[in-house]
């Protein structure tokens, strides 16, 4: 069965410092990978997906099939980046995970200190 691992429950960095949230997955096929974010008192929302290769709010993530990783990176952290971040995997196709059930990691709580 597929699995998503986020090794850090909590990550605290200073404003302006680089950020890297780690995500590793286990699946023998070619999954779709996503990062979801939940800001304080807001709903879970899609941040970015690997197939679009886009940068959202300064965040990027590259799928490394050799290392089965999909780490989320941002060169200069901002205080508004403080949130809960979830890495997720979909087995079939795009649509932001709406075409089938997502497998989520346990999440990393990112705190940006001023």
């Amino acid at each position: 069965a597929q699995r998503v691992t986020q090794p850090e429950k909590l990550l605290s960095v200073f404003k302006g410092a680089p950020v890297e949230l780690k995500c590793n997955y286990s699946y023998s096929g070619s999954p779709e990978l996503f990062w979801y974010v939940q800001y304080s008192r807001q709903r879970l929302q899609l941040l970015l997906r690997h197939i679009s290769r886009e940068s959202i709010k300064g965040f990027t993530a590259d799928l490394n099939k050799g290392e089965t990783s999909f780490h989320l990176k941002k060169p200069f952290a901002q205080e508004e980046d403080s949130a809960m971040y979830y890495c997720a995997l979909s087995l079939t196709g795009y649509s932001g995970g709406g075409a089938d059930g997502l497998t989520f990691g346990k999440g990393t709580h990112l705190i940006i200190q001023p």
Binding site: V4, L44, L46, A88
Partner: protein
Amino acid sequence: DAGVTQSPTHLIKTRGQQVTLRCSPKSGHDTVSWYQQALGQGPQFIFQYYEEEERQRGNFPDRFSGHQFPNYSSELNVNALLLGDSALYLCASSNPAAGEKLFFGSGTQLSVL
């Protein structure tokens, strides 16, 4: 558009009871998925409904069942509640055929005593 709406927001039940949670999808969305999020965990996929049928199911027992109505709204039913069913239940809607991404509701917090 109110987005995905769920009711109730909070619910307290006792062991052995049955519960029904409700979800209205975002306008234009025809697919509804349900997730269970225990404290300190990521969401776990329960099942997905499309065209009033269960299209996909996660690793949850038969005590968890659902329904989708012609207006695309959905219900999640849990029978014979256990203490371990205490969690935040999230509904998410999408329209995969239209390339619409997944939108989540705010969830229903279920406490089983």
